[in-house]
Amino acid sequence: MIELNNMQFSWKDTLILDIEHLNIKSNEKVFIQGESGSGKSTLLNLLAGVITPQKGEVIINNSHLNTMKNSQRDSFRANHIGFIFQQFNLIPYLNLIENIILPCKFSYSRKEKALKNSRSLEEEAIRLLANLGINASSILKRSVSELSIGQQQRVAIARALIGSPDIIIADEPTSALDSNHKASFVKMLFDECEKENITLVFVSHDESLKSHFQRCIELSSINSVKAEEVE
């Protein structure tokens, strides 16, 4: 599903990532652990095709991201990858439903898939929220900024899930949550990925979450550039 080969990425003449090989299989749930400054965000941007490596290959779903044009990578990302960020996941001027269905506006294939589950995108959004334990009707009218962090993160999962992308990349999604919520958040994410056969790449510096995952990768163990050098 995800494959990196001899990949090097530098930013302003400084080598940040040098990964000889990384392979993540379909439906795998992988925890990538790394301290801040270890190049986590850079790795995610590379996986998402926001940036391209100067050397080596990034292959996702048998597509070579490193040889694609910028616009192709953008639409590839829209079609195949869902994202969950640390916080500030939602566009403040869109309402709950608009935020969730936003990826379908950039990807026709995800819109099609979403409409297989429900008659309309709005219905699908409400269905996803219900799965995540949010009764949409009670908060539908509220501005997204009035939601609690926990609610916001669940809305973010719904957005990442809509239209069943192949991969969900979660970038420190639990760091704003307290420990009780962390566990339930991760469980929820797992359940949904399980149902939809989605590959999950979960990046965090928080070792306590490691135990939930089948596979755990220490970024420093695959990156031959040392963290101090990057900083």
């Binding site: 940036i51 953008d74 829209a78 079609n79 001027y93 269905i101 506006k105 970038d171």
Partner: protein, 473 residues
């Protein structure tokens, strides 16, 4: 959801922030269009009353002066021209019609124009429209008066009403021609020219009310008995005629007494109903034409003749006269105001520019604060180009909303101002939909806004290329 809808929602959520930008651009749009419209309306307002007149002839003066007093009743002529010159002009070759105009009196602040029947026959305005009557007709009697639409409406006059003219054109006059009131014979339809605010009387009547020779009217000291007698003799229909004759010797005394009585009656009724009095009869008998008039409107047989006649009049040896081509005089007047208009255009253009700069700075400030938002958009597949489009879309929306608001402001202002403008300056502001030229101005403003937004759009484009999906900013 296109980037445009996103932009719309983004602006919607920041209405309050953009409020001042909306208002400042809207005001500038209102100013810019307002200047255009006032210019256009003023131009047509000045041209309409003279559109059917080929030449205006008056005593030697500057063409703008002659135009202003003879057509717009602004200012007063220093000198007058001979009535004989009018007769000569009318009789001359290539002249189709000539209308004598005499000014100077007023009624409750409205100007009185005295002329002859040619006015109703030949005068035209606003592309060959002739003056028409809402009720009544042109004068058939020497002391008939035709009222402009505004005069009748504002002063609430009806046909048959009695009107006393005042000497001079001041709002409040102390000299009234109350011995010779007029009867309203007709009320004109609105023309949206200065005629709406004028009273039109005959030249004979004008001469009569100004005739200073002491023996014409009975209320004045009567010196020559014989003349007084003449008047009565001629006045066959007078109801006191037989009575006067019977009383022979007491004629003069009685006559005076009678007149006094008549005047009392007249002043009682003068408020409303016109009644012919003795003075009218005397004046009608005399029916004197004025020796001097203010100006002559001329229509020619063929347009080619205009310059020939103009040259002839300007070189006229018997009396110093000026002949002007009113359309050219309006142009001249207009050039005189050109710099005011240019200045206003520059000022409103600058206000537009400042408004747009305000918008630019607001959007630029947003660029920095919205890096996380852009990262999210990137993560779900928006290209950096899409994000640039979002910013351009926002600017386009802000400007379009402001323009819409400005147009609303403009029409509200026009509606509010049109009546006072008309009442105070006689300037008729026709409220019309925006012309192509004005729409082009609006399009230009919108394009400038879009162009100006390329600055923040490019910045955010670069920014989002660098930031990618990095939300840890």
């Amino acid at each position: 959801m296109s980037m445009f809808t996103l932009a719309l929602k983004s602006i919607q959520s920041r209405k309050a922030t953009f409020l001042l930008t909306f208002i400042s651009i809207a005001i500038s749009v209102m100013l810019l269009l307002g200047v255009q419209i006032i210019k256009k309306e003023a131009n047509s307002g000045f041209l309409q009353p003279v559109s059917g007149t080929d030449l205006i002839i008056g005593p030697k003066s500057s063409q703008i002066e002659l135009l202003l007093y003879s057509v717009f009743h602004i200012g007063t002529p220093n000198t007058l021209m001979e009535y004989k010159s009018y007769e000569r002009i009318q009789a001359s070759k290539n002249v189709k019609w000539a209308i004598p105009i005499s000014l100077g009196d007023s009624h409750k602040g409205y100007k009185v124009v005295s002329t002859n029947e040619n006015f109703f026959k030949h005068y035209s305005f606003a592309n060959d429209k002739k003056v028409e009557f809402t009720e009544g007709k042109a004068f058939e009697d020497m002391f008939h008066v035709v009222l402009g639409y505004e005069v009748a409406r504002k002063l609430n006059y009806k046909l048959g009403d009695n009107i006393v003219l005042s000497h001079g054109d001041a709002e409040v006059s102390f000299v009234h021609h109350d011995e010779l009131p007029f009867k309203v014979s007709g009320i004109l339809k609105p023309t949206h020219t200065p005629i709406d605010k004028t009273l039109i009387v005959t030249l004979h009547a004008m001469e009569a009310i100004h005739d200073d020779s002491p023996n014409h009217f009975m209320h004045r000291p009567i010196k020559k008995k014989s003349q007084q007698h003449d008047v009565h003799d001629e006045d066959e229909e007078h109801h006191d005629e037989s009575h006067d004759k019977e009383h022979g010797e007491h004629e003069e005394h009685h006559g005076e007494e009678h007149h006094g009585h008549n005047e009392d009656e007249h002043s009682k009724n003068s408020e409303k109903i016109y009644k012919e009095n003795l003075s009218h009869k005397v004046a009608k008998k005399l029916k004197k034409l004025p020796t001097k008039i203010s100006a002559v409107y001329v229509g020619v047989e063929s347009k080619n003749a205009i310059f020939g006649i103009q040259r002839k009049i300007n070189n006229n040896a018997s009396e110093p006269l000026s002949a002007i081509i009113p359309a050219l005089a309006v142009q001249d007047l207009w050039e005189f105001f050109e710099f005011v208009q240019v200045t206003l255009n520059i000022i409103s253009g600058l206000v537009v520019f400042i408004g747009l700069l305000g918008m630019l700075s607001l959007i630029l400030m947003g660029v920095q604060n919205r890096r996380k938002e852009m990262a999210i958009l990137r993560s779900i597949g928006a290209t950096p180009f899409d994000i640039g489009k979002l910013i351009v879309g926002e600017a386009a929306i802000v400007c379009a909303v402001s323009i819409g608001l400005g147009v609303v402001f403009l029409y509200v202002a026009l509606f509010v101002l049109s009546q006072p403008l008309y009442d105070t300056y006689g300037f008729y502001l026709q409220i019309q939909p925006l012309s192509l030229q004005e729409l082009a101005i609006l399009a230009l403003i919108e394009c400038s806004a879009i162009l100006i937004s390329f600055v923040p759009a490019y910045r955010i484009y670069k920014q989002s290329l660098i930031d990618g999906m990095n939300t840890h900013i």
